[in-house]
Amino acid sequence: MRKVKALILTGFGLNCDNETAHAFGLAGADAEKIHINTLVSGKINLEDFHVLALGGGFSWGDDHGAGVIQALKLKNHIGRDLLNFVDQGKLIIGICNGFQALVNLGLLPGLDSDYTKRSVSITFNDCGNFRDQWVHLTSNAKTPCVFTKDINMADYPVRHGEGKFIADGEVLKSLVANNQVVFQYADSNGVPANGAFPLNPNGSLEDIAGICDPTGKIFGLMPHPEAYNHFTNHPDWTRKARILKREGRTPDRGMTIGVKLFKNGVDYIKETFF
């Protein structure tokens, strides 16, 4: 049987490659961790893969803006390959530092099919510091994003110092109008946080936690779905598991909503390419 091949970038201070590959693996993909320089040198070709994941971490220490140098490096060396990859309708997901890189590459938001323009930015949290916290997310039912199919709400952790999504009014309006806003920070009932800290942990405009391009095949988000790869990752699992048990029910220990997000991507490839 053909396997969906996912490429997980590594190197230069990226650090979520292992669990991102693991989550893709649980989602049924054949995930390979590939050092950026082996793509640059041509030892590995991007076109041999179906999904590209730019994961979390501190590429180049995030010293000159999060994801900036990573974007520059990819643009300089495999910029053409990336655009071809997009043209072929393959999938790209950027998580945290990867989201920041996608935005700096211009692959997001990709308004008017321009995949090179930097028109939004992800900048320093309003709270003034790095913050690790689980957030509630509500997803946009109308979004074309292939990764969030059948996901209405999700809890994932955020872990960043630069996660505040900003854009000027016009761009923001287009994003909303095109249903490119995929995830918003919300309360436990799924009502958007409306900027309230800490439900919205960084002050993102429109509570934006993740956006996609107009086709829904390029997706970037600040929260980490790969960090919810096992039921014990959720901060409330000890409580929930015992409540269910006491009610005589068995806790669901199947696929987490974190892995589900990756599986949506993998399934999309299977449906479209195989």
Partner: protein
């Protein structure tokens, strides 16, 4: 050409850094700033032309959406402007990554004399700002003179064209490298040289050193190598190897221990051997999960059939005390190299922290190098950058406050790694060097960093003098090296690896060459940060982010290929031999030629007098305090105390989820804001197993007896593990001693003999606890001089010593993480039990501390009795009889019932008459029961239906049902010994108190 690019956020965006500066200026100094904006300055010294500079500015350094930039000073208004830049030679991480980016983007290589440097300027507006205030902000908030320099401009003296006029912070030494030959005609002469060169040779070592070099046979063999008298390289090597840091002379010393109550004297020869090594080796025989202990950079325990875990801990106290950020980031990044250099190398999977500092609100006359508040800010930030950028979750940590730490604060950092138990079919915990293998140095370059510690701080600076003694760690460079080395390991390219820490190459090469029995090193091959280092400096420099690796010649090409692919610098600097000689060359000249076994030449042990005065003899008694009448106010005030209150703001700055294995987080409860007993992590994502980790720090008990400090600390760390589902049969220990100076000196250290006795007692307690609880010590370290001489009001200097402190860390492997337990009560109607007896043990408690009292009744640990309870509780948790579990720790029962109530978000009622209690150590009043810190106790909630089976399990043990969880109200209600209502506080009120002290910090 020198060019400066200035970058700032566009005006419409919130300047988070400026906002934080405003806030701190107001709250720390009462200085009112109306507007603060931050400008990043990138200074480029290069041959780039104008067009290229524009490209660098626009395409690399400026975000078009949020930022503006210019090649001339940005016109941002201010009343005062502060410029802050690094001193030459201080690691400028953003400068280095900018060079990488420019090289890649323009396809340009940076030649000698070219470089990129970063600095900042802050534009401040404020009607009431005066130059003195601005100077204060610059020197006491924004910069530290040890690593940084600053300039203050008022708008009047600002030149719009030259701006801050930033010069490259580069090191120029103008020195031709050389080595010196040292005359050692007499002991006195060598002693003088030792003083002059800061070798810190022990006077008793001096004759041994001279004897070696004057031995006719040795002289004959040295003559052949072209040497006669010792060289500075050789003496520096000996000095490093014999230092307390590398050789642990204190723990291997001879103690004449006398108990003043009966005048009995015992000779303790080698505390390490008696109290750490021997019990651990015995336990290793018994516990088949213990894989490797006592010799490598870290200890190794079995995680599962295919993987072993690695654990070690360090302190980085002195540097953090001088430059908190730099010291702490260097500390955490440094300890992360230990697991990387254990066995054939392990992958890091978690870290933890422990901070002991003075009062953050101190406003007395003493002037520590850094105010505790500023020090804590810097330390927190250093571990944040070091840990987060290493991609390693910081899953546990504690912060405590005591005036004794104003003399020297403590920064504990702990690292855990995981490695496959077999690499290419061979055990990964074994490693050796063999003749013919190449010596490779990977990672960072060598500069004047960390040479002879803090002595350099008193020297005067010129514009290009390197500020080398305090370093700034570089997690980015190290993370690249970490990833690279794991690939080399898995390809079987590494027969030996170790890190470069204290002593630099001198230690890493010196020690690894003992295995092959010799080496030849070419110091001229070692890549340098800048030219002009003398040979001895290259040899002992402690420049960070370096590993020393042995590679077989046939594997060199592959090793170098991977190194290049990961953009890690690796250099062959020599070869392991079996000549029995440490042979160091620089180009064609030999600058050191000594026997590998020189260090076994009968150097004398250090000696200490230790006199124990039991607390009663020291006049300690229980204080006379009658029962309080307002327990509600008392409990509120306890929860507000800095040592009890929430430190959520610190924990949230640390990524505790990266690597995706988080099971029990550092903060738990319905609102995810109560500190957990311990953390649990899955280092192997495909496995159901978890690694539980806890730490305890109870230095206050040393005020009474360090013996009980040690036993209580270990007992607490064990209970913390059990509380989350840990396995009593697999507990690994890690001891980090931090002690004030124990060498008696009538003038300088008059209580040295007592502190020495405290150390002996703590070691005895360590052995007893480890034997009784069967805890092998997987790793341990000591830091022996936690004293400071602080400047006082009248020009005097007052010695401030820290409490005798041990941070004990404990590990356990949990077979099935789905059985893990958290401390939050989960169901209304559940019963609340307390396991373990409460005695009159308020000595050195938080309760007594609230009244500035010490007392006498320090908690005692009854290992044999306690461990039966712990094993039984483990069984109850495994059988899923328990709904929540929490170890009673600092602050006693009232504080910990409060924490549980907040964690559960449900009401809780407790009756003190039902509490298992013991009057053996004195009467028990309400306040004794509520605030005694007796060891061995847990609070547990269970469903009512499990009552019988639970009570049967604990039959014959101290277990009392003290109350229940309820949803009829959301209060903590405690009833006293006469059933009278004592405490009735809502969760909201508890929460407010718990978050009052630090709750507004983020």
């Amino acid at each position: 050409m020198i060019s400066c690019i200035e970058i700032a956020l566009k005006k419409e965006f919130r300047d988070a850094e400026g906002t934080s500066l405003k806030k701190k200026a107001a709250s720390y100094f009462g200085i009112n700033i109306q507007e603060a904006r931050c400008i990043n300055i990138v200074t480029i010294e290069s041959r780039l032309d104008q067009d290229q500079l524009e490209i660098v500015k626009d395409e690399i350094l400026t975000n078009p959406v949020t930022q503006m930039s210019s090649l001339t000073p940005l016109d941002i208004g201010f009343d005062f402007c502060i410029w802050i830049g690094y001193r030459p030679g201080v690691k400028d991480n953003p400068g280095a990554t900018a060079m990488e980016a420019v090289s890649d983007h323009l396809g340009k290589t940076f030649g000698p004399g070219e470089g990129i440097y970063t600095s900042k300027r802050y534009c401040l507006k404020g009607d009431t700002l005066v130059p003195e205030d601005v100077e204060k902000l610059a020197s006491e908030l924004l910069s530290n003179h040890i690593v940084q320099q600053f300039k203050v401009f008022s708008i009047k003296d600002w030149d719009k064209n030259t701006g801050a006029n930033v010069k490259p912070a580069k090191v120029i030494l103008n020195h031709t490298p050389c080595f010196e030959v040292i005359s050692i005609d007499s002991d006195a002469q060598l002693a003088k040289i030792s003083d002059k060169r800061n070798l810190a040779l022990n006077p008793r070592d001096i004759p041994v050193i001279r004897e070696y070099f004057l031995d006719p046979e040795i002289m004959e063999s040295r003559k052949k190598a072209g040497l006669l008298k010792p060289t500075d390289v050789e003496l520096e090597y000996i000095s490093q190897a014999r230092s307390d840091h590398c050789n642990h002379n204190t723990f291997q010393g001879i103690f004449r221990y006398k108990d003043a109550s009966n005048n009995e004297e015992v000779i303790e020869d080698n505390l390490f051997k008696t109290y750490i090594k021997e019990p651990t080796l015995k336990l290793k025989e018994k516990k088949d999960w213990v894989v490797s202990v006592l010799w490598d950079n870290a200890g190794v325990g079995r995680f599962d059939d295919e993987n072993n875990y690695v654990v070690t801990g360090e302190t980085h106290n002195s540097p953090s005390n001088m430059e908190a950020y730099g010291g702490a980031i260097t500390g955490i990044v440094g300890v992360y190299r230990d697991p990387m250099g254990t066995g054939l190398g392990s992958k890091l999977f978690m870290g933890s922290f422990g901070y002991c500092v003075g009062d953050v609100n101190y406003n007395g006359p003493l002037r520590p190098p850094l105010h505790p508040r500023r020090l804590l800010d810097g330390v927190i930030e250093g571990v944040k950058d070091g840990g987060n950028k290493s991609g390693v979750p910081t899953t546990f940590g504690q912060t405590l406050f005591n005036p004794g730490y104003m003399g020297k604060s403590l920064v504990f950092v702990t690292a855990l790694g995981i490695m496959p138990s077999l690499v290419k079919g061979k055990p990964s915990h074994e490693k050796k060097t063999s003749p013919g293998e190449l010596i490779i140095m990977s990672g960072g370059r060598v500069g004047k960093d960390g040479i002879h510690g803090v002595t350099a701080s008193s020297e005067s600076y010129s514009e290009n003098t390197p500020a080398g003694h305090v370093q700034i760690g570089d997690p980015y460079t190290q993370k690249k090296m970490h990833d690279f080395l794991l690939i080399c390991r898995d390809e079987g390219l590494i027969p030996f690896i170790t890190d470069n820490g204290g002593g630099g190459l001198s230690s890493s090469v010196g020690e690894s060459a003992m295995i092959s029995n010799g080496c030849v090193v070419f110091l001229d091959k070692v890549p340098l940060k800048y030219e002009g280092l003398d040979m001895w400096e290259i040899w002992i420099s402690e420049s960070q982010e370096r590993m020393t690796i042995a590679v077989k010649p046939e594997n060199l090409d592959r090793f170098m290929e991977l190194s290049a692919e990961h953009e890690v610098e690796s250099t062959v600097i020599g070869e392991y031999t079996d000549t029995g000689k440490l042979h160091i060359k620089y180009k064609d000249e030999t600058c050191a030629y000594v026997d590998m076994d020189l260090l076994d030449k009968g150097f004398p042990s250090w000696e200490f007098d230790a006199i124990w005065l039991p607390p009663e003899l020291r006049g300690l008694t229980e204080p006379v305090i009658s029962s309080p009448s307002d327990f509600n106010a008392l409990l509120i005030s306890m929860l507000e105390r800095p040592n009890i209150s929430s430190k959520e703001w610190i924990i949230r700055q640390y990524d505790h989820e990266v690597q995706g294995g988080s099971v029990i987080k550092p903060l738990v409860g319905v609102n995810h804001n109560i500190p957990s007993d311990a953390c649990v992590t899955r280092p192997v994502l495909t496995s159901q197993r978890g690694l539980a980790f806890s730490q305890s720090l109870l230095p206050w008990y040393s005020k009474i007896d360090a013996y009980h400090m040690m036993t209580s600390t270990i007992d607490e760390s064990v209970r913390r593990l059990i509380a989350v589902g840990g396995n009593f049969d697999h507990i690994g220990g890690l001891d980090n001693f931090c002690w004030p100076n124990i060498q008696f000196d009538p003038g300088k250290n008059p209580d040295g003999k007592f502190k020495a006795a405290q150390l002996v007692r703590a070691c005895r307690a360590l052995k007893e606890a480890c034997e009784k609880y069967e805890i092998p010590l997987l790793s341990g370290k000591d830091s022996m001089y936690v004293d400071g001489h602080l400047e006082g009001e009248f020009g005097e200097r007052i010695k401030v010593s820290a409490l005798e402190t041990v941070q004990f860390s404990a590990t356990s492997v949990i077979e099935d993480v789905s059985k893990c337990m958290s401390m939050d009560p989960k169901f209304a109607g559940d019963l609340v039990y307390v396991l373990g007896e409460t005695s009159n043990e308020l000595g050195a408690s938080e309760y007594y501390d609230a009244f500035d009292e010490t007392g006498l009744n320090v908690p005692h640990v009854d290992f044999d009795k306690f461990k039966i309870v712990y094993k039984t509780l483990q069984k109850a948790i495994e059988k899923e009889l328990v709904a929540s579990c929490h170890a009673v720790a600092r602050g006693g029962l009232a504080v910990h019932l409060s924490l549980m109530t907040m964690a559960g978000g449900l009401g809780l009622e407790a009756d003190l008459p039902e509490l298992p209690a013991n009057t053996g150590r004195g009467r028990l009043f309400n306040e004794t029961l509520l605030f005694s810190e007796s060891a061995g106790r847990f609070i547990v909630t269970i469903p009512g239906e499990n009552k019988n089976i639970f009570e049967n399990l604990f039959k014959g043990m101290a277990a009392g049902c003290i109350g229940f969880v309820t949803d009829l109200h959301d209060h903590l209600k405690i009833f006293g010994v006469d059933k009278e209502p004592l405490v009735d506080l809502s969760i909201a009120r508890l929460d407010k108190a718990f978050n009052k002290t630090f709750g507004d910090m983020i």
